[in-house]
Each structure stands twice: as structure tokens, then as C-alpha cells.
């Protein structure tokens, strides 16, 4: 049973990851505000990356490459969260410098 169940689960995970990537990129394309675009890009695209990583973890040949894939996934998550915060902060400083100055000086 596991012989045919595993590829089905992999294909399902890959397809759903692709759908989430498409939705995230569509959000980047369609949303009006920069903060909305950050929201779509960071959340949805990382969900798609997680699903695709999960599907790829099932086909990796060795434990070392699985751990490497997990490490890449973790680095991509940390990088995405960091850059989303930095860009959001730059946008807010640019839009409302006075209010942001008060908020930031805590």
C-alpha cells in the first residue's frame, strides 16, 4: 500500500505548494499597497516552500541530503521573515516619518 500511497502524497504536496506559490505571486502582482504585498509574499510563499520541501524530503536518497534540505528551508524562512520586517520598516519610515520616529525610539 505504501508503494502507491507515497507518490500520490508527494504529487499532492507539490501541486498544493505550486498553488500557494501562484497565489502569493498573484498577491504581489495585484495588491495596491506595499505592506499588503509584503503580507502576501511572506506568508503564502513560505507556506508553498514548506509544502514543496516536505514533498522533496520524501524522495531524498540519504539522511545527509534530507538534513541539508531542512537547513535550507530553515534559512529561507529566517531570511524571508528578516527581509519582510526590514522592508516594512523602511516603508513605514518613508510614509510617516514623524510617527515612526516616536514608535521606534522605545
Amino acid at each position: 500500500m505504501i508503494e502507491w500511497l507515497l507518490p500520490v502524497v508527494q504529487v499532492l504536496l507539490l501541486v498544493s505548494g505550486c498553488i500557494f506559490f501562484a497565489l502569493g505571486t498573484l498577491g504581489l502582482f495585484r495588491f495596491d499597497d506595499t505592506l499588503c504585498r509584503i503580507h502576501a509574499l511572506t506568508k503564502i510563499d513560505n507556506l508553498g516552500l514548506g509544502l514543496i520541501t516536505l514533498a522533496l524530503l520524501m524522495m531524498t536518497p540519504s539522511l545527509a541530503s534530507s538534513l541539508k534540505t531542512l537547513l535550507i528551508w530553515w534559512v529561507a524562512l529566517a531570511a524571508s521573515a528578516t527581509s519582510a520586517h526590514l522592508v516594512a520598516r523602511a516603508v513605514r519610515m518613508h510614509e510617516r516619518p514623524m510617527q515612526q520616529r516616536e514608535r521606534c525610539d522605545d
Partner: protein, 100 residues
Amino acid sequence: MTLVLHLVALFLLLTLMLGFVRIWRGPTAADRMLASQLFGTTGVALLLVLAEAQQMPSLRDVALILAVLAVFSVAAFVTRVVRIESARSDRHAVKGNGDD
């Protein structure tokens, strides 16, 4: 399964094309930098899929480097172009440098 992986890679490449449209249209510099973040996330997924599809394990190293370089480019953008650190002390610097 290899065919499915190649189709997934092709699809991810097509979604990257939409990122180019955002770079082209993006009204502010921050929008254009968001496309760099998109290339970070989608590019990592694309390289991981290609590493599995073409049996090239070295592409995983490329994915790791791409993930790190994407966040470095955004960090360089916010500290050099928008200058969020100097904007804390002098808000006129933001008005002068944010639009280019």
C-alpha cells in the same frame, strides 16, 4: 515523478515572471526590493526541485547561497538606499533618499 518535478519547476519559473512585472511597474523602490524577496523564496524552491529532478545535489548549495544572498540584498537596500538608521536621527534623509 521526474516529469512532475520538471513541470513544477516550469510552473515556478512562470511565477517568477510575474515578479519581473512587479519590478517593472513597482511605484516605489521598496516594491522592487520585494521582488528580490520573491526571487529568494521561489528561487530556493525552484533550485530544490531541480536538484531532485536532475539528480544534481550541488544545486542545493546554490539554493542555500541564494537564500542568504536574498536577505543580504534587502539588508543592503534598507541601510544604504532608504537609510533606516540615519532616518531615526534625521527624518529629512528619508525624504531625500527614499524616492530614487
